[in-house]
Symmetry: C2
């Protein structure tokens, strides 16, 4: 199942994966559909089953900077749902018709409370993922920083 | 105790905090001393007791971009020790003589194994922290991006 290939579930036992899968729901999405908007309350986690989703962040009031396009089944977004203050840090928009698995934050929190070892694996995977994104973001900062240095020096 | 004010330990019970504290060791640091270097294996987590530590990342072979200066007791660094592949993503250097609490990755992993609920809280705090840093980093990217747009348009 595509859901089980999600990085958040890596390292869980089959039984734990089945429990997470049992609270997920499939939802269709249409091209152009906004799934959530930066600043919205994050009430659910989404895992791509089919199609493609673009993640963006607002730079100016009228301009959204693309951050990533998710195309691989199992790709996951809306992870701020798992963390306080539960607010989306990006905007997600469907760019290719498809289907999502959705897991409500409330349902996942209940599973974590019942089985802290499951929570520990998921939270560890999440931290690992954010650290990777943070390194990438710092890498982009370095590139922009160097480019800017060239402009200011010329 | 300064160690308990570290963000990683928030939400733990007194008993859990005491267990974490029991495996920490105090180490003195001298101004100018390099605590670890970007790319090094991350074998321990450090929490500031006294003094100040600068975090940096290499931009060019000969230039290190400052990322943060930690001055508050309880400030924590070296967190990649808690996550695979256990490699430092930044360089840490003492900029004001002081003292650190150091917790070996091996000792903390043992505690997490023995008490997954403790691990779940620590990993959740870590993920929350990285998400905040990621948002800040994206914010800096936006600022540089806008500045660069001004230069390329002029």
């Amino acid at each position: 199942m595509e859901l089980c290939s999600c990085y958040l579930l890596q390292g869980l036992t089959e039984d734990q994966k089945n429990r997470v899968t049992s609270v997920s729901k499939e939802t269709a999405m249409e091209s152009g559909q906004r799934i959530f908007t930066e600043g919205d309350e994050a009430i659910a986690l989404h895992i791509l089953k089919e199609g493609a989703v673009e993640l963006m962040t607002v730079v100016e009031n009228d301009f959204e900077m693309p951050v990533a396009i998710l195309r691989n089944p199992g790709d996951c977004f809306g992870t701020p749902a798992l963390l306080k203050p539960h607010v989306h840090s990006l905007t997600a928009r469907c760019v290719e018709k498809g289907c999502l698995f959705t897991i409500k934050q409330f349902d996942l929190q209940k599973q974590i409370k019942d089985d802290p070892a499951l929570g520990c694996v998921i939270m560890g995977n999440l931290a690992e993922y954010f650290l990777k994104r943070l390194k990438e973001s710092r890498q982009e900062l370095k590139v922009l920083f160097k480019t800017l240095l060239r402009y200011t020096r010329s």
